[in-house]
């Protein structure tokens, strides 16, 4: 009964709107919801062209990865035969590379560094971002400006003094320099998380203040649970950065047993690649082992990667 009454005003209104606007709207709304589609008989041709172009591009983007995986199952003489399906498939490369190089050790090192780097940066950046998002205080704008400015600084400028700090602390040769800098937050994530915190509705926090909740409780019990997707995003982004980094492992790690997997892969390229022993099948196989975890990470967190990167662009 009551449900019908609110519905009543709409029907008489709808046709009136329709007749008013229809002559204007029809040619616009007709061809497409998205405005770029051309009208007329060419539409099918265009549609086919789009799909063909996308398919060609997809092959160009995905084939190199398939090529890499395929080559890892080929004997040495067939690595460059460019067949998608190996003529004589073999697991020998995986066995050999696993025996010749401390791959398990490298993978373990990389997992440790990745988890520590991503975990610390998520927690520390969340704290700092909350400090900038929740409180008003004099100097906040200037301080946050400094945070943003540090993003412009090329890593090369701080590379050598940072090395010397870790050197003086006796940490060169350990994995600590690869992640411990993340204990102090990272400008990009502070910016990103602050945006998320600012987008939260104010009501729960007002309620918390009235209830007399402390600042820590407000942050930990209310803000953090509301922003879980943003933390997952931060963790995933940093996990990718930490897993794939080569520069810092090159600078800080000398002992082969402490290598991360990209650093290890580089040493295999030096040993077996150009100018080396030309055992490309081993390099390729180690390349697959280095890459697959990142592909899995992507499929695990695809939504976060895609949406996170799309937001990055619109905020810039």
């Amino acid at each position: 009964m009551t449900a019908a009454t609110p519905a009543l005003p709409t029907p008489p209104q709808a046709p009136r709107r329709g007749t008013d606007v229809a002559p204007l709207a029809a040619p616009d709304a007709g061809p497409a919801s998205r405005g770029l589609r051309p009208a007329g008989g060419r539409r099918l041709v265009v549609r086919v062209t789009v799909i063909v172009a996308l398919a060609v591009a997809t092959v160009a983007f995905v084939y190199p990865l398939l090529w890499l995986v395929s080559a890892s199952f080929k004997p040495r003489s067939e690595v460059f035969d460019n067949r998608l399906v190996p003529a004589t498939p073999t697991l020998a490369n995986y066995v050999t590379v696993w025996q010749d190089a401390p791959l398990a050790l490298w993978l373990g090192n990389t997992v440790v560094v990745t988890v520590l780097a991503a975990g610390t940066v998520t927690v520390s950046s969340a704290l700092v971002a909350w400090g900038f998002a929740h409180f008003r205080f004099r100097g906040r704008g200037v301080l946050f400006g400094v945070v943003l400015a540090t993003m412009m600084l090329p890593g090369a400028v701080t590379l050598i003094p940072t090395y010397l700090i870790w050197h003086d602390l006796g940490m060169v040769g350990t994995n600590v320099p690869l992640w411990a800098g993340n204990l102090f937050g990272s400008a990009f994530y502070i910016f990103l998380l602050r945006q998320f915190f600012l987008s939260l509705p104010p009501e729960p926090f007002e309620a918390a203040t009235i209830d007399g909740a402390g600042e820590w409780t407000t942050f930990w019990r209310i803000a953090v649970p509301l922003c879980r997707p943003a933390f997952v995003l931060t963790f995933l982004f940093e996990a990718q950065a930490a897993w794939t980094d080569l520069m810092r492992p090159l600078v800080y790690l000398q002992d082969e047993r402490t290598f991360t997997i990209p650093r290890g892969l580089k040493s295999l390229v030096d040993q077996f690649g150009p100018g080396g022993e030309s055992q490309w099948e081993l390099v390729v196989t180690a390349g697959v082992i280095t890459t697959v975890p990142m592909i899995l990470l992507f499929f695990f967190g695809q939504r976060y990667f895609v949406e996170g990167i799309a937001t990055t662009g619109s905020k810039g």
């Binding site: 616009d28 540090t150 102090f184 007399g212 580089k266 390229v269 030096d270 390729v284």
Partner: protein, 322 residues
């Protein structure tokens, strides 16, 4: 259960009384709490940014080999920069790489995003396909570069062969080393495609309709409606990739620079940060490497500033209209 009700009423009067007693007490409390939350960053900034900047500036005026104490040499390192042929070489290489890769990157990303926009429901699948290379570790990208662009056996030249083109020796001919690196870098265009696709979807449809009524064809609409409407994200991509281009390291280092004394080192791929790394951590010329870092900083700042100035003319921000 019983503890919470007793604590909760007790706390607010306490704080409220404090607030009433002294004006600004609330602000002081907020400031103290804020600083507590921000303190990790403040410590990190002082130790890992501010101090390194100052120390790097100092080191650039010294001779330092990481073993003996730094020896003051004044501006000698900077004078050496000007006469070091490898600095000129690596700067040139870096300029060429960036100047080739950034425009191609932006155009390709835009084309792919335009295609994706029209892919309808299948756009998610294609977007994933375009993004996957971005997940590939740069070291593995460097390996792929050596394999796919191999002169006689590589896949790239095989495909070119189908069209009757004899591909060059991408990885060994100095003329083709940088174009090969540029093409390989285009493989990781996926993130920009995602950004631009999101931007395209934000362009109001009625603008296209208005343009169509005015008789504008597809490419004209792209040029006069799409590009201006997404010029913000386009500019973002240009700036980020330019800064990234000037610091390019891993792919080229993996492919062309071995550990220590490899004979394969290739001058055509000697990018600026690679030279800086060699000077700082292989030759242990840490003073000179610090001077190199400051030159890089100045170059990047200058180019970004020019881009920002240009952006005032070409970039349209919706916010400015409000």
């Amino acid at each position: 259960m019983t503890a919470t009700p007793t604590v909760a009423p007790a706390a607010p009067p306490h704080r409220a009384a404090g607030g009433r007693r002294r004006a600004g007490a609330h602000e002081r409390h907020a400031r103290r709490a804020a600083l507590a939350f921000i303190s990790p960053w403040i410590v990190g900034f002082l130790v890992f940014t501010a101090w390194p900047i100052l120390y790097s500036a100092y080191l650039s005026l010294t001779d330092y080999d990481a073993i003996n104490d730094p020896r003051w040499v004044g501006l000698a390192n900077y004078r050496e920069l000007a006469s070091d042929p490898k600095v000129a070489r690596s700067l040139w290489n870096t300029f060429v790489f960036t100047a080739l890769s950034v425009p191609l990157h932006v155009v390709l990303a835009l084309l792919l995003a335009l295609l994706l926009e029209r892919a309808g429901r299948s756009s998610g699948f294609f977007r994933t396909a375009f993004f996957l290379p971005k997940m590939t570790p740069p070291v593995a990208v460097g390996v792929l570069l050596l394999l796919l662009f191999n002169g006689p056996y590589g896949l790239v030249n095989r495909v070119l062969g189908w069209f009757g083109i004899t591909g060059p020796s991408w990885t060994t001919d100095p003329t083709w080393v940088k174009p090969g690196l540029v093409l390989m870098s285009l493989w990781t265009v996926g993130a920009s495609v995602v950004i631009l696709l999101a931007a395209l979807r934000g362009v109001p449809a009625d603008l296209y309709d208005a343009a169509r009524v005015d008789g504008a064809g597809y490419w004209r609409r792209v040029r006069t409606v799409t590009v201006p409407m997404i010029s913000g994200p386009l500019f973002f991509i240009v700036v980020v990739n330019t800064i990234g281009g000037f610091q390019t390291f891993t792919e080229a280092y993996t492919a062309y620079f071995g550990a220590g004394n490899s004979t394969y080192s290739n001058d055509a791929a000697l990018f600026y940060v690679i030279y800086l790394f060699q000077q700082g951590f292989q030759e242990l010329h840490m003073g000179y490497a610090s001077a190199l870092a400051w030159l890089l900083f100045v170059v990047i700042m200058a180019i970004t500033a020019v881009q920002l100035l240009l952006s005032r003319r070409f970039v349209y921000y919706e916010a400015e209209q409000r």
